[in-house]
Each structure stands twice: as C-alpha cells, then as structure tokens.
Amino acid sequence: MNNFLADYIIIGSGPSGVQAAQTLVEAGLNVAIVDAGILSEQPAQKIGPFLQIRQNHSQQYDTWIGKNSLATSSIGIKPGSQLTPARQHANHLADRLTPFSSDSFFPMTSLAKGGLGEAWGLGCCTFSDNELHLAGLPVAEMKKAFQLISDRIGISAANDETLKYTMGNITGVQDPIDIDPNSRELLRKYTGKREHFNKNGFFLGKASLALLTKEKDNRAPTGYDEMDFYNGDEAAYRPAITIKKLETCANFSYVGRLLVTHYEEIDDYVRVYFKNIATAVSGYFDCKKLLLAANLAGTSSIVLRSLHAYDTKLPFLCNHYVYVPCLQWKMLGKTDNSARTATSQLFLFHDPDQTNTDVAMASLYSYRSLMLFRLMGQVPLNSKDGRAIMQWLVPAITIAGIHQPDRFSSSKQLWIEEAPESFNEILLKATASLSPGEKNSIANREKQFLKAFKKLGCFPIKKINPGYGASIHYAGSLPVSKKEEKLRCLPDGRLGLHQNVYIADGCSFGFLPAKGITLSLMANAHRIAEQLVKQKH
C-alpha cells in the first residue's frame, strides 16, 4: 500500500537539503524534508555581549562549557571538541545511531536539524571555473546558482584583491565585517609587503562570510558581540532559518526524528525506509523523486545499503587541515575591544601559479571569545603560572586554520558492512592514507604558510594536526560521470542506473577545493532542484 508523504522527499536538513527544498517549494512543488533532526538541549539564546557576560553573568558556565561536556573530557583536538554548548547537538547521537569505524579518517557526522550547517564557520567562497570543471560541475549553471544563493542567505565580503577567490562574479553582497585590531595589524603589514607576498602566490583579504552587516529579510546585522557561535542571533545564516521560513508554506513539511536507512525504486516512485530514533519502529514513505542530501556518511550509507553493495568501496574527498596558533608580538598587553566577532577575520590564499586551480587557504581568527581553559589543555604549564602567562598572551594569539585541496586517490575509501546489532543495522568503515608524495606536498605548502605568517609578524607557536577528517569538508563518494554508471552521478544529479533518485550534496563532487565547500554545496543543491522543476514543467 502506498504511503505518499510528498512528491519530493529530501533526506537531510543541512545547507544542501534546505536550499534544494526552497527551490522546489518556491516552484509550487510538494516537498518534505526527512531527517533525524536532533535539536540542541541548550538552545542558543541572545544573552548579551561576550565581555559583559564574562564580567557579570552568574550562570555563564552553561554558556561556555555546558554541564555535561567538560567532565566527560571535551577538551581535546578531535573533530567536534571545539563546538560550543549551543552547537554541540551538531554531532550529538551520531556515533550511536550511525556507527562509523576507521583508524585513519575521523569525520564529524551530524544528525542535527540543520546538519553540519549548525557547526559551520560561515566562510563563503565560490569555486573558480577551473575548480568547477575539475569537480565535474557545469560552470555557467553554478555561477548563476552562486548568485542566487548569495541573494538568499546574505553574504558580507570585501571588494579587494581576494575577490576572485571569494565571491568571483557574485554581485550585490553586503559590506565586509569590521575586522578586529589584530587583523587590522596583519592587513597593514601585508599591504606594506604586498609585492613580496603576491610574488610568492599569497593574497590576503577580509573574510567573506554568511554573516549580515546590514538588515536582510527581518534578520538584524551582527552586533559585534563576539557571540556568533553561542547565541541564536540570525545575523549568521544557518539552515534553520530557511526551514523556519519554509514551514510557513502549505506545500512543505519537515519530518524529524526519523533516520532514513535505505530506499527502493518501485515502478515510477521511490519507497523510503526509515527508523524512528525515539521508538526504533521502522516504516516507509513513498515519493515521486528522492533527493539525498545527508552528507558523505549519510548519503553513501543509504545508497550502498539500498543497492546491497556491502563491501563495495567508494572513493571520497576531504580537505587536509591543520591549525596553527600564532603570536603577534605587537599585540601583547593590548586590550582594544572594538569590532569583535568570533568568526574568521581574514582569508589568506596561496595560489602559486595564479590560475585559481590549486589554491590552499588559511582562515585567520583572533583567540578572544574562547575560554582560557581550552588553551590550558594544550600548554605544558601548571594552572597557576599558566593562567597568568596565558592571560598575558591571549590578546596576541591568532589561530590560523590551513585547508588544502583534495583529489581522489586509491588509498581513500569507504564501505559498509552488515551490523545487525547497531541501530541502523550497518557499520560504515573508511580507510585513508597519504602517499609519500602527497605528504611532502602538504608539508611543503604548510611550510610556506608558516613562512608567510612570520612575514606578517605572526609567529607560529605550534602546528596542530587534529587528524584527517577534522576539516568537516567531505565529498566525492558518487562523483559525476557523463555516462550512466552504477554508483556515479549524472551531471543533472541523478544517480546512475536510477530513475528517480538524485544526489543533492557534495557526494557528486569530483574534486574538493580548499576554499570551504558550503556555498558550493548550496549552489549545487539549488541547481539540481532547478532542473527537477524544469523537468516537471
């Protein structure tokens, strides 16, 4: 017996899922998003500026640390350990409900309402024509989609020399955020030595962010309160904003608490099987078209299980990532509190051949709106002397997160195994290793970044490698192919040898640039949904 929930079912409510949904809903189609929809146990609230809370708020422990987290040793460098209490639901229950095993790949998976978008650092960069080409994505359509997504979510960016790496041809963006004194000093140094940096392929500019600097659609601009990752401020774009808007439409429904396990194509419709995460009761919905937007782990598991492709190995992509705390001597003992946000302040791009193809990128943050105890977990000093020394050092600490582009290699694979004892009855496994050549190339590039930081007056203290997977940028398990093939995507997003199943997330990307994937994920999801709309009409 049929159990139609909607004509179009989208699995996953992250950035890709919600943008695909918005495009379909705006075209008047009947759409449902289905996912586990884990909500925050400590909902983000607007509670005031960082400094004011630090000095006056008697209940601030919950805001910064959360009563459940610290005692269970959240102080660490593994993916997810830096999530603030208001964002910890981003990976809550994922380990238990969708088990994953690997000794060399440590991704963060999410079952949250909003998906990994809940943990997004808000950085927005377009992929260049060359990068789109390598990823197997149609250039002209993606350019249009970038513009549309920018108009939808609101992006603030500078019209500076990094524009070709950040916004590309997008127009109508808001003014960039006012950067903090540390970053102003870095930019001043860069301007003085611009020629040297450019000759070596480095370009520094203000960060382009999904953070409003002007009001948009009743969303207030950032208040520069440094609470971007703690409060429920809508200045920062999150998928929840789109879901809230779509829930006012009669042709949209959001169904949470359901973990989709697999699907089955039957005649001209798709049956989607799920398990209720509260009751463990299984069931199914039917739809005309199914769009998978559950990220690398979710989408790959669902496809492999649906095809009974146990032990079939899929490729994947993930940006190699390290972070480097640096010391800006000039800022020691300074306490300028003007213009502070907790987001990335500057982007430093490394494009050695200046073709905008093999670009690595560092995001620069000031260490301010985090607590000292997180640093204390990393320094070899006793708590008494360490407190005084770190209190003095913190105003001068800049954190640089370096991302490198990723290409396919036979040493990065994921697969599923049957696991009847686990909640979703499968175990997702992965292996990843780097060849000596890849290791060398990554290390060389990191060295060049460290040199550039020094030249900016920002001295690296330590290079921290949180493990492969910590970049939270994943893609590539079902890459685009022009031919109809099993476990490959066609350029319109349709899964090979399927009639009505589409891949709307990064699994279809054939290359992963270092610039941050979220804007491209949203643009691609919109592009695929738009083609479905055209098909329908």
Binding site: I65, G333, M371, F373, G377
Partner: protein, 124 residues
Amino acid sequence: MTINKEQKVLTRYITGRHPVLPVTELLHQLSLPPLPAKEQRAWNMGIRFPWLLSCIDGAYAWRKPRSAYRQRMLVYFSVMESIPEYSDLFLPQERSSFYWLLMGLRASWAGLKALLGCFLLLFI
C-alpha cells in the same frame, strides 16, 4: 552548602584568592573525572601540601597532558574562569611593554617546578 578543603586549596592555587560560594555551587553540580590510584595519591598530596601543587600539576601538564589528573584540574580551572568575581584574572589586561620580562621569569620558574614535580612523581 559548605566550601570544603579541596575547593579552598584549589581556588587559592588557581586564583590566589579566597573561594566564593558560586564555586562550591557549580562544583556540586559537576561530576569530576575519577582518578587512577597513582593520580589520586598525587592529587591528595597536592591538597595536603598546597605548596607542592604547582610542581605536581606542572609535571602532569608537561608529561601527561591528557591524564585524568589534568582533566580534573581543568574542570576546576574552567569553574574559576566562569565566576564573574574572578573574571579580571582571566580576561586580557593592559600590560606594559616590559611585562614579558616578568612572564619570562615566571615561565622559567614554572619549568623548574615541573621538573621537580616529575622527580616527585617517581616516589608517589
């Protein structure tokens, strides 16, 4: 709710000040990580002889930063850091350009204490 000896000693150790009631209230709600036998003996010794705390803590911070001892100390640290009365001890303060001399000396002294702590831990 009373402030026990451990709370008094550790508040004095981390902040150099007397404990305030919110410290006790917060610690009462938190579960501290349990310690293995040797780390528990080291912990008890630090509470009994507070002048040894920075040596033992420094030794763990240097040699075993992921130990339960250190995790427990960080729970205390985070509690102190989130008490408004102590916020001036954790938030950045304006300092003179020669302050680095003092901090350099302090870091060297902390290193010596950690060395001494490592030696002590051999006998605990």
